[in-house]
């Protein structure tokens, strides 16, 4: 991305029909540490790679419960993300008060997107610098949405955002077609594997990732959105590593080719405007 004469205001179009300030805001999302979301028909899982400002500090909180039936994982300016989480919580609570029912996830994502769009069309505002993966459960099943600073949002079967997310996306692209029928445990395992891809060789432990799940069991009972505790995450990581050692040679050949993908994150914006994708 290069500085140019059309990028001072969010309300200035470039001759090519781009809003550079919005695109720069989307760059901020890529600076945040990775987040991953995936869903089956009945469950949705969010996972985030924890990053601490220094060894002395605690890690940034990236996954937030928004309501019993929904939560978000964010990447980018966490302050903006905190404010938006508060907005989402408020929307869910207000809806539940009036209608005594959970706000459908598609409507939640829509309200968030409309709020983000406002900031792309006011000269005295700036776009939010955070991308959110919105995961939730409503009467039509489990959903996963990605809301970006441009005000666009899409529904996904699986998605990853943040730095080195391309590695996670490559991993998910190979496996997402079976996700609708995955059990919750399988979803969690794939989420952890996707996060592992973004850690670039660093060991995956329960202290450098957060996982949350929401869903509806076969008997109809709802499992509300909640973080999975560190002990259980470690158990799952350990069981994943145990099975990995068995088909070792085939897996190793694939993972070494994936290492090369991790460097090419920032190059998406040079030709097509990112929000058009």
């Amino acid at each position: 991305m290069f500085r140019n004469q059309y990028d001072t205001d969010v309300t200035t179009w470039s001759p090519a029909g781009r809003l550079f300030q919005v695109e720069y805001a989307m760059e901020a999302v890529k600076q945040g540490s990775a987040c991953v979301g995936l869903r089956s028909r009945t469950h949705a899982v969010l996972a985030a790679a924890n990053k601490a400002a220094s060894e002395l500090s605690s890690h940034q909180r990236k996954v937030f419960r928004v309501a019993d039936h929904a939560g978000v994982a964010l990447a980018g300016l966490t302050a903006d993300g905190r404010v938006l989480s508060r907005f989402l919580r408020s929307e869910c609570i207000n809806h539940a008060f009036v209608y005594d029912a959970p706000l459908p996830v598609s409507r939640l994502a829509l309200r968030l997107a409309d709020k983000a769009q406002v900031c792309t069309q006011r000269s005295w505002k700036r776009p939010y610098g955070v991308g959110l993966l919105v995961a939730g459960l409503d009467e039509s099943g489990a959903h996963l949405y990605y809301n970006c600073p441009s005000g666009n949002y899409f529904e996904y079967q699986a998605f990853a955002i943040g730095s080195r997310s391309q590695a996670a996306k490559t991993f998910l692209e190979r496996r997402f077609e079976g996700y609708n029928d995955y059990t919750p445990d399988q979803l969690i395992k794939d989420a952890l594997s996707a996060i592992k891809e973004t850690l670039q060789g660093e060991k995956l432990t329960s202290s450098n990732c957060t996982v949350a799940i929401v869903g509806r069991k076969d008997d109809g009972t709802v499992e509300p959105f909640e973080m999975i505790d560190a002990k259980r995450i470690q158990e799952i990581i350990d069981s994943m590593e145990a099975t990995e050692e068995a088909p070792a040679s085939a897996a190793e050949a694939e993972s070494s080719s994936m290492q090369e993908d991790k460097g090419t994150d920032a190059g998406t914006g040079t030709d097509a405007a990112p929000m058009d994708i």
Binding site: V98, Y99, D100, S106
Partner: protein, 269 residues
Amino acid sequence: MAACGDGFYGNNTGTREHTLYPYVTGTSVIAMKYKDGVIMACDTGASYGKTLRYKSVERITVVGKHSLIGASGELSDFQEILRCLDELTLIDHMCDDGNSMGPKELHSYLTTLMYNRRNKFDPLWNSVVIGGLKKGSHGDEKFLGMVNMIGTHYEENYIATGFGNHLAMPIFRSEWREDMTFEEGVKLVEKCLLVLLYRDPTSINKFQVAKITSEGAAIYPPYSLKTYWGFSAFKNPTKDSSIEGSMKRLSLSDPAQTFEHFVAVSRNV
């Protein structure tokens, strides 16, 4: 009685309004759950005070895909409620995302609406009955609930508003059973409607029955019930004064007789 208010709560004239009394009113609505869904019934009359002014008023309508709404009380307020609910269903329709508002959500919305108006001393003068069914996590879930003008709301297996609270509820309480068939349900409802016809002065002999099932809603065309007025004491009240309901013939020119009758009646002879 208009005090100056900011007028931003519904009217644009800048005056605050307080509903004092209703003008055109509908009488009881009764409803009950049955095996396949909910049955709702009421008469098609609307009174202007003591005058039975309108005789073909539909006081039950379908809202959205899943609910029946019926109301007693002020008719214009019912129309306002329907307008609000239409807006809700329109939003659902425009979102086009597969989500739709079920009877439980409508009930909760109306509760908030009616209670809010009550708190402004400007109530919607209705008792609204909401019935319907929607697919939930445990299959088709039937719902039947009521909200009234002060915001009181509850869910029950059978509901009656207005006079129905006094005349129809005892019948429901003793005769309603879980999982009645449609025919049994209509029979029970007609029994209640007949009692209301006899005893509620603001009811008329023209009824509408509506049902809602998982296949959708149906509001049947209006019809009348057969009534019986052939009681001998009613046909000829002075014939035999010992029959229940008869009246002794009085000669008003003889003060002694009238006084004696007065004494007898007051002593409950």
